[in-house]
Amino acid sequence: MTVTEAAARPVRRLQWQLAQVREIVVETYRVKSLLLHVANWQGHLSGQHVDIRLTAEDGYQAQRSYSIASPPEDQLLTLTVERVDNGEVSPYLVDDLRVGDQFDLRGPIGGYFVWTTAMGGPLSLIAGGSGVVPLMAMLRHRDRQNIGVATSLLYSSRSLEDVIYRAELDAMARCDPHLRVVNTLTRKQPDGWMGRRGRIDKALLAEECFPPERSPKIFVCGSTPFVEDVSRFLVELGYDPLTIKTERFGPSGGQAP
């Protein structure tokens, strides 16, 4: 976006809206997806996030940001939430929330860490843990639009049980010759695991990302140490820092900026 476009854009306030839980999907033992009906949702781009606001009966409020997991094409808005032990908001969302419950939400927020089919490829997505969530919105968007943008997802999880969207990712990759999904398991691998082991390092990135000559669009999302390591490796491998978009999930659940 150019400065002039930004300046000319009409200013509208992002209003708080009522979100109602329509469906809850158990993704892993500590991760759930909340499928929400938002009455006046104006649409979003893959990679954007929302703010949610929980209000207790005594008036106490807590706000947090969560990435959107659903593509713009879907009717319901999906947030995928990982339980952070000792957290204040995520244990409520993961353990207490039921279908029919309501809370306030506003968005979409963020316009930098986004991908649309118009931006093309090749697309190198690199996820650590729940950092896969905004990247999944991109993969689902790409899938719904059914265009053959060459794409790779390099996804690091602690164990097979921690892999979010495993069945859906497997299914997507199986019937799409232009999509490659590479899982690496860092702490525990099941017997007979044929996939990658250990943290994402420079060698794995060199092997699984599209080479710098092809100028891939790169999106990296995960914990701060994960993103710091991966983005540093990528720069050392010769990728232009300006082509590497990052989103760091801090211990406080923060997202961009």
């Binding site: 300046a7 809370f103 316009g111």
Partner: protein
Amino acid sequence: MISMDGTTIARGFRSKRHEQAPKDRLPPGQHVTTDFPVLSAGPTPQMKLGDWTFALQLGVSLLGKWNWTEFEALPQTTIKTDIHCVTKWSKLDTTWQGVTFDDLLKAVGLTEPPAPHIMAHCDGGYTTNVPVADLIGGQGMIATRYEGLPIPPAHGGPARLLVPHLYFWKSAKWVRRLRFMEKDQPGFWESFGYHNYGDPWKEQRYDGD
């Protein structure tokens, strides 16, 4: 359930916070964190101090330029302040050392700021705009130490802009240039839907807030 003022009561949600910061320390919608989350749009630049320079510009003309040694020789100020990130965390009583905006003006021989706005330019292409009125009078500095130590690269080192009374994205990491502007222009996040000014006490997170 919808309450009188239109907020929705989240069934069964309760505060788990045992100690809350005093109301006059915590802007609306924020919570206190004791860690220091890192949020940046791209890779952390690896800058060698020997290659680092810092410049003050008016439009395209140079008002002053310092290398690391020269910059370290400028008058140093230490401040203790709270910081507030737009992603909802606040960190209380952080200590920063650096060169105030006022001292930078003095160092280039100016008694008055030459224009009403600045754009901060950073390694990695990041920019942010700040009114000069929010930098003068000891409100803004180029910080080079955090809690007495060099600022780690992930937190904006060697030097970051510090404007702690605005949301922390205005305190640009890896700052290399401040450019005075006659007319205000949006910086990086300000062009992506974030508020142009960013006062945490008015909860100016996004456009139109």
